[in-house]
């Protein structure tokens, strides 16, 4: 009998405590971010869309080997010895011409394993996250160019990556 009334009392007490807590939250500031108007500032290390600075790519294929989901596709051509020598921006000579460098971002698992082995740091993950598209096909990012438009000067500082 004592337990019966104690239980009722306890129920009322704990319910009132709960009500007090939710009441106090009614007047605390909401933590919602109103997305399209207010944008989240991503930290600099954020791993979002991949970007390849193709002018610096030496076609070594280390990123392709590192990718656990096989979403990077690359083909290269050997350059003629007689042609003008090309250099990546950190001075590495480019001996292979990258004729195809495709990344299927719909397959990418954003693990960042491809960017670490890159010897010229030309493949980076950027903090850009708004790249939704309407068809899967548009997720295929093609970085290779027909002819590299700008040849880097070996003297320019090398791009940093995290």
């Amino acid at each position: 009998m004592k337990k019966y009334f104690l239980d009722i009392f306890e129920s009322i007490r704990t319910i009132l405590i709960g009500l007090k807590i939710t009441w106090s939250h009614l007047f605390t500031r909401a933590c919602t971010v109103q997305y399209p108007e207010v944008k989240w500032e991503l930290p600099e290390r954020s791993r979002m869309r991949l970007f390849n600075k193709i002018e610096d790519c030496i076609g070594c294929g280390q990123c392709v080997r590192a990718c656990p989901v096989d979403c990077i596709y690359m083909t290269t051509e050997k350059r003629n010895k007689e042609e003008d020598p090309w250099f990546a921006s950190d001075g590495t000579p480019i001996k292979l011409k990258v004729t195809q460098f495709d990344i299927d971002m719909s397959l990418c698992c954003y693990c960042n394993l491809c960017t670490y082995p890159c010897p010229t740091h030309c493949l980076v993950m950027t903090p850009e996250y708004e790249f939704a598209v309407h068809t899967k096909k548009d997720f295929l990012y093609r970085f290779a160019k027909e002819e590299p438009s700008v040849m880097s000067d070996p003297a320019t500082p090398q791009p940093t990556s995290n």
Binding site: G61, D102, K136, K137
Partner: protein, 186 residues
């Protein structure tokens, strides 16, 4: 607290014929038990007051088929652990590829039930006496045992393509030239 060599001695006294092999040198020493004696050995290991292996940490199937070594056996590996005595033991049972049969230990450790179902699902190892030996992770009508080294991925499952359809494949069908991927070969 006993190490594997001490346990081996005790087991050899108790079950002289059934401890087939032992490897005490490597970092992870193990004993190989013949399949027949497994329930007896395991029961002893669990209930003996010096052993007291009350938990079966892990039960794994392994396929050792390797074209280089011409090894062709299947194995079931039992990782035992005793929380009270704090010692570990690795038991292995070697099985032939064509007729992999091993008695169940689900009556000794409850968890073995699901672990054995998984080993059956992935390697086709038959656990004799198991109460409910069904596939656990794959669909019931899946053909063949996926983790065997000679497993060939089926092309379709119930009319659906079983292999992951990549978007690149779709693109290729649409006439896109996607090139080859020389670095992934092999």
């Amino acid at each position: 607290m006993k190490d594997t060599s001490e346990i081996l001695q005790i087991l050899q006294e108790k079950f002289p014929k059934y401890i087939v092999k032992s490897n005490l040198e490597s970092a992870a020493p193990f004993l190989v038990v013949s399949a027949k004696a497994l329930p007896a050995v395991c029961g002893f290991l669990k209930n003996d007051k010096d052993m007291n292996f009350e938990s079966l940490m892990c039960l794994s199937g392994v396929d050792y088929k390797d074209p280089k070594t011409e090894d062709d056996r299947l194995e079931v590996v039992y990782h035992l652990f005793s929380m009270s005595k704090k010692h570990k033991l690795i038991l292995k049972v070697e099985l032939s590829r064509d007729d992999p049969k091993v008695p169940t230990v689900e009556n000794i450790w409850g968890i073995a039930n699901w672990h054995e179902r998984e080993a059956y699902d992935m390697y086709g190892i038959q656990f004799e006496g198991h109460s409910d030996l069904r596939r656990i992770l794959c669909p019931d009508d899946w053909v063949d045992y996926p983790l065997r080294k000679d497993y060939v991925e089926p092309e379709t499952y119930r009319g659906m393509p079983a292999a992951a359809s990549k978007q690149f494949a779709e693109l290729a069908e649409e006439g896109e030239d996607l090139g080859t991927n020389p670095y992934r070969a092999g």
